[in-house]
Each structure stands twice: as C-alpha cells, then as structure tokens.
C-alpha cells in the first residue's frame, strides 16, 4: 500500500471493507479465489463424511472395527492403526515444511523455498504410496465397495470413496507443488516482479489437504 491508511478492525472493519467502493478482501485475488475454492471443497468433503455417518448409523450389520481392519503385525505383535498413524505423521511433517517454504518465499530465499517445497512434495508422494499399499492390502483381504468379510458393506464404499478422493487431492497437490517449486528455482517469478504470493496460495491448498485428513482420521479411523 502506498498511502498509510489506518483501517478499522473488528466489526467496524467488516462494515468498512464491504461498504467502500473497492475490492472487499484486502488480499491478492489469487489468494481470495483459493480460499473460495477451498470453501467449496469443504462442502464436498463434508458431504462425503456426512454420507458416511448416515450409512454407518442406518446399517443393521455390525460396523467393522477400524483399529483391527487397519492394524499391522510387527514382530508378532498386532499394533492397531499403525500404518494410518505413520501416514498421519508423514502428512504433518509435510505441513511443517510447507509452512516454512511460504515463510522463505516471502524472504525471497529462492533456494530454501525450492528445497522445502520439494521436501513437501516428496512427503506427499510418500503418503500416496502408503495409501496405495493400504488399498492393496484391503482389496487382497476381500474388501470391496459392495461387500467385505468384516461387517457392513457400506464400510468399503465409504472407505474407497473418502480416502480415494482425499488421495486424489494429495496427488494433485504434489503436482501443483512441483510446478511452483521448479518455477521458484528457475526464476519464473522474478520476471513477474519477484512476487512469491503463489507459494502461500499453493501452501493454502496443501494445508487444506492436511486439514481434511485430520477429519478423516478422527471420523473414519478412530470413531
């Protein structure tokens, strides 16, 4: 901003932002649009999770116990939800590297931004790989979208639908991050005035994917 305007905050700030003859949100349009896209995505994932809740409530068959279904045997010891816990930690780690990448982007430290974004993408790809392993394991055990040997048939349909859609988001995010990361490295944004807001916008998407996993972990795997 060129002029120093003291803008009101709080409730008065909301009125001020909406009633002035200007753009309402004082953020770059790319960021506002990403937020609005994420809002619509929130509704999509909510519909999936609410649908899952509905079929889980309404089925008369017993619901499979996720801690047994997703358990792994390590050295003769059965550990509940082990793979899911590792996936959760991989995703959280990637969230941290992404947050640092955004910070380094604003400092115009292109090298660190690139490496942190690359690390985020690698962790994301690891997550998708582990998910592929999990799907393979369940399919081999006879879990299908229409039936499974452990309980209500709706378990399979909710599982493949919800984790599949989330995994697709992670995969898309990995590609998105890689594109932005390489553009940061080769100086693409320097030619556009050295604005690294795009790193934050990509970061918003990535954190959202992590956010959705928090809800899936709570409602599908732990509930």
């Amino acid at each position: 901003m060129s002029e120093a305007v003291i803008e009101p905050t709080g409730g008065a700030g909301v009125v001020h932002d909406w009633s002035r003859d200007k753009q309402v949100f004082g953020v770059p349009w790319g960021k506002a649009m990403m937020w609005i896209f994420l809002l619509s995505d929130t509704f999509i994932f909510s519909c999936f999770l609410v649908g899952y809740m509905m079929v889980r409530i309404s089925t008369t068959d017993p619901w499979p116990n996720p801690s047994e279904v997703f358990g792994l045997t390590v050295m003769g010891q059965s550990v509940p939800l082990l793979l899911i816990a590792i996936m959760t930690f991989v995703l959280i780690t990637s969230s941290g590297t992404m947050a640092l990448a955004v910070n380094m982007g604003y400092r115009k430290d292109r090298k660190k931004t690139f490496w942190l974004m690359l690390a985020t993408a690698v962790l994301g790809a690891t997550f998708v790989g582990m998910q592929a392993f999990e799907w393979t394991k369940l399919i081999l055990e006879g879990v299908r979208p229409w039936e499974n040997p452990f309980g209500a048939a709706q378990f399979g349909s909710s599982f493949f639908m919800i984790t599949g859609f989330h995994g697709m988001h992670v995969s898309a995010g990995v590609i998105y991050l890689l594109i932005v990361a390489f553009r940061v490295r080769n100086g693409f944004y320097e030619k556009r005035g050295g604005n690294y807001e795009i790193v934050e916008i990509a970061g918003l998407y990535w954190h959202f994917v992590d956010l959705v996993w928090v809800f899936i972990f709570a409602f599908f795997y732990l509930w």
Partner: protein
C-alpha cells in the same frame, strides 16, 4: 498488513508444528481406549485443536481481516444442519430396517494380518 504478505517469525511455525505432532500422538492414543463418551469427546477435542491450529497459524487465517474470516469460516456452519438432518434420518432408517427385515444375521470375520 495483508498487502505486504503474511510474514511472521519462524518460532510460531515451530511451535505449531510441534503441537501438531503432540496432538496427533494424543489422537492416536485414543484408539487404545474403549469406545464411549470420553473417547469420542477426546477424538473431537484433539481434532478441533489440530484443525484450528492449521487454519489459524499455518493458513494464516488468524492474521486476515474479519471480513475474510467471516466469508470463509461462516458458510461451513450450515453443515451442522445437514449433520443433524442426516443423523435423524439415519436412526429412522435403521429402525424401519429392523422392523421390516429383522436384526442383522451377519457373522463378521475377525481381521488377521
């Protein structure tokens, strides 16, 4: 402030990162509890703490202006109505199924790995 971008001291990110690890460990620990009100309360508690931290700190929502906060965080509140409607409907459907078709005769296998 927003025009200059979201630049904050690194320390806050390290703290948030650490908190996410600890909260996730707590979440995982609930899986060793018996299913019941306490377990479900703790699952929701850790879930909302993690979600809030991600949105507020990592996504920088805490530093955005109130107009943006309302525009993005307000509409999802409508989902609560959908949850209520579908839960109500779900219990009703289960009741009618039991009434018409009787209790389930499904014999589940125990997963073994």
């Amino acid at each position: 402030m927003a025009a200059e971008g979201q630049q904050h001291p690194l320390k806050i990110y390290w703290i948030m990162w650490g908190a996410l690890f600890v909260l996730s460990a707590f979440s995982y620990a609930t899986d060793f509890m018996d299913r019941g009100a306490l377990r479900h309360f703790l699952i929701l508690l850790f879930m909302f703490l993690k979600a809030g931290g991600i949105v507020w700190i990592f996504m920088h929502m805490g530093w955005e202006r109130l107009a943006l906060k309302f525009a993005i965080l307000g509409p999802p509140v409508a989902i609560l109505v959908l949850i209520w409607l579908m839960a109500y409907e779900g219990f009703y459907v289960e009741d009618t199924r039991v009434e018409s078709f009787g209790e389930s005769t499904f014999v589940p296998e125990t997963p073994h790995h």
